[in-house]
Symmetry: C2
Subunit: 532 residues, 2 copies
């Protein structure tokens, strides 16, 4: 409806009784005519929301603002329907709902009246309690540091039209919405009431069972191990960091490593010691040297499609690595990131499979990057005694993960949709991966490029080259990427960058990398600053 | 299909060539005949999952277990289809999928072979890395305390057939699944791709806008305030507790108070000081005495349908309360718990509305108890500078709340379904509330009962009476309730209990409270222990 389509307003004195005249006669002390006009003119209904609720909210707003006061009579339903140009039924329903909510009451034969709803001070003013605090003086170290390390706030932002290589989120045009819808409807039909009520901290049972099998199929010995569902990888990692005690206060990881993990380890006040990456995974000699030097509480590792280098640690190296960690009794938090996104080569089992019957690995899994990041579902697979405690920490933190998300994911997986989707996604990502790699070779001939698949490549320029300067030059030409330095534990990596290609079109991959390449050449030739 | 419906197995030597004979002839070194029988007999397909995936998983399991070794030829598609009694197409698809995943490879004209997939040690054993840790020695204080305070682990459990008054979750038979389904499909149609990809830490924009309006309608002055969506109340509370600094290390709350909040304040290492409740909310004289005595970082308050007493603080008292907190500069974390569930009386505005233009209140809202706990959506409304930091803490903890949950909730609310649902729910809960109250008066004549609505009542027996003994007696007769003592900050409340009635039938409310009453009478008369 058009809210401007009101009956003509009453300007000045009426010759004949009119609806707004009746209103005015009955409640003339209430609001002057001008106020009425102003008042009802600003009722602008929107589409998609029942009209009676919009009428109710409109009147409620006047009550809350104090335009209508406690004990005051509301316009009759007939009057209001004319004033707002809505059906009388809408007004009747609106008044009923206001009465339900305690904003109004009905007197038989007399109409609806405003309840004595006290919102602000009894003198009608809110100022008496309007005291102000300086919250910036009341923040914890964690809050300040979380803000400081928040790259969404301090990182480079893509403006419209920018070619952005910053994202490693999946390409949403690959999502098969129909199967997600089907999964939802199927699950709702089976147990809709259960899905919408409280679930269990540990997770939705059918999904837990499914994931147990799923992990067993990856070669994991489940004996003595258990699973916990979390709000994605990030919550899982945070729960593990909270649940593990600190004897040494220091932890190991690959250098570079996933910046969110790095941020969260720092938020937990841990000393993070990075071990350099080799071409086929963590440098084992450097790792052993670090292990000899001092004691660590645990190590955080990303053995597949390592973020940011994209390297897949070979199966042989995984075994040597696990033996080393066992020898030094340093447990491993394994980030199963994008394990599913292999394009070629043999299947590589996760470290937790290589650990056999041992319980030294805590595995964090998620389908977010592979399937749908919007569904916040991840899982922790670890020793069952540890999961027992993690379950209580999870319950204290967020009760449980959305049952709806879990059930949709379960039904989607059960129906065999992951396989179908992966087939399509791998083909698409493989093509983009190969294109990005070829473009890097063509336009960045002096840079070393790593990445065995996944959704990104990592580029290392010669020592002394500044990717921050490169980014400034490229941004001026509408291309952005992620600075590699934010992945490094020791403040190095100024000559590196990460290229996420999953959401960039083929044309823009070519165009973008050419721009990066030309800018890099200019920078090396000392011209810099993105001027063509 | 029936997995028992296999072709007859090959016992001993064959006279005529048969499919499994061919299999045996080509790969006779592989597995002895007995092993084949055992092997393929345990293939038991389930319904609802594509058969080819089940075949794939079956073969993958044999590869991972080492039954099929790297380089070994897999049975031909024809052979396997006969052995497993599935269509040949299913086997072809299974082999394709195994190849996609890197478990197998195809040699043109020769068939499919197992990839050199190394799962366990190169010697085939996992024992080399099978080192075991004692995780119980590696837990943080938080993990231990979270387990210790976890009432789901240490509270009383309902056995089948028990009349349980422990839950204050909504009655799921009231859920209107059809409108939830409609909301999901409507939102998916509008922006399904967006919903399934990454969202924003702050929340889903349409829901944020809706909630802003919703809170404004409750009388909140939004100027200088902002909103953050969380995984329900619990995550919201945890984020706020993490983000607020500690100057004094002590906080105020009502005594008794919500046990989850109490647990979480203790997990955060805070000294919790409880102020007694009066009949109409917190005892203001006692509050002022506490405020005079020492300094506090903040106060946690539940002004409506207080958990566990069920008391609604009167509007007048809210204003005096806010003036007091302003005078002592102690900000308030307001738990908006079940504010929507009023059955009678005027609308009562939240404290954050009473605070007017002030920024001293952090409001935590959720529809969980009113609508669907399974959708984990809550919100924090507070000073915008504080929300700015909370957003970064939220991002570090869990990236963002499920966009699907948020979008379903938004569409459900937009469509006016909350009003329709509340109308039905209030009628039902009001009836149960009145019945429970009447039964308490009839069967527990010596106990004081509080609760102005909501989903529970709080019962206080005379000093010296033990509700723990009462619970033991009642449990023996199939009735359980929540011990009041777990809500108290100071170890008192041994003579109290909470009765949640939302999920108990009328008949069981009557029966259950009669049993409690009779057991209480026996206990007071010194007979105890639940013997009839």
């Amino acid at each position: 409806m058009d809210a401007g389509d009101h009956p003509p307003r009453n300007h000045g004195r009426n010759k004949i009784p009119s609806p707004w005249f009746f209103f005015c006669r009955e409640d003339c002390a209430m609001i002057a005519m001008g106020a009425i006009q102003t008042m009802y003119h600003d009722f602008k209904p929107i589409a998609g929301r029942p009209l009676y609720i919009q009428v109710k909210e409109y009147i409620r707003q006047q009550i809350v603002k104090g335009t209508f006061q406690g004990g005051q009579k509301l316009p009759s339903t007939r009057e209001l329907s004319l004033l707002l140009n809505v059906s009388r039924n809408s007004v009747i329903s609106a008044y009923e709902s206001l009465t339900d909510d305690g904003y109004a009451y009905t007197v038989q034969g007399q109409g609806s009246f405003v309840s004595a709803t006290v919102v602000h001070g009894q003198d009608g003013s809110a100022e008496d309690a309007g005291w102000r605090l300086d919250w910036s003086q009341r923040l914890s170290r964690e809050a300040r540091l979380a803000e400081e390390l928040d790259i969404m706030k301090h990182g480079v932002r893509a403006e419209r039209g920018t070619i952005s290589f910053t994202s490693i989120a999946p390409d949403e045009s690959l999502f098969d919405l129909e199967n997600v819808k089907r999964a939802f409807l199927a699950r709702m039909a089976v147990e809709g009431h259960v899905l919408l009520n409280y679930g269990y901290a540990k997770g939705y049972k059918p999904l837990l069972d499914y994931l147990r099998q799923y992990m067993e199929q990856k070669g994991v010995d489940l004996d003595g191990k258990d699973l916990l569902i979390t709000n994605g990888f990030t919550e899982g990692f945070d729960l593990v960091l909270s649940a593990l005690g600190r004897k040494h206060g220091a932890v190991l990881c690959e250098n570079p490593t996933h910046h969110t993990a790095l941020k969260n380890m720092r938020l937990h006040g841990l000393e993070v010691c990075g071990v350099p990456m080799g071409a086929d995974g963590i440098d084992l000699a450097a790792l052993e040297a670090s292990l000899k030097q001092r004691a660590y509480d645990w190590a955080y590792l990303i053995p597949s499609y390592h973020n940011p280098t994209g390297i897949v640690t070979s199966p042989e190296k995984r075994h040597v690595l696990m033996k080393l960690m066992a020898a030094y009794q340093v447990p491993v938090i394994e980030d199963g990131f994008n394990e599913e996104l292999r394009y070629s080569g043999s299947h590589v089992a996760p470290l937790i499979a290589a650990a056999g019957s041992g319980n030294g690995v805590i595995y964090l899994g998620s389908f977010s990057k592979v399937l749908f990041p919007g569904l916040r579902v991840g899982w922790v697979l670890a020793d069952k005694d540890l999961i027992y405690y993690l379950e209580s920490v999870k319950r204290a933190r967020s009760i449980h993960t959305s049952t709806l998300d879990q059930s949709i994911l379960y039904q989607y997986l059960l129906g065999g949709n992951l396989e179908k989707y992966l087939r399509r996604a791998r083909t698409e990502y493989k093509r983009k991966y190969e294109l990005t790699l070829a473009c890097c070779k063509q336009y960045l001939p002096d840079a070393a490029v790593s990445g065995d698949g996944g959704l990104h490549l990592f580029v290392t320029f010669p020592e002394g080259f500044s990717t921050r300067e490169l980014l400034m030059a490229c941004k001026a030409q509408g291309v952005i990427f992620t600075l590699g330095e934010m992945f490094f534990t020791d403040g190095t990596g100024q000559n590196t960058l990460r290229l996420g290609f999953s959401r960039v079109s083929d044309e823009n991959i070519r165009k973008g990398i050419e721009i990066i390449g030309n800018a890099a050449t200019r920078l090396r030739n000392g011209r810099g600053n993105g001027q063509c």
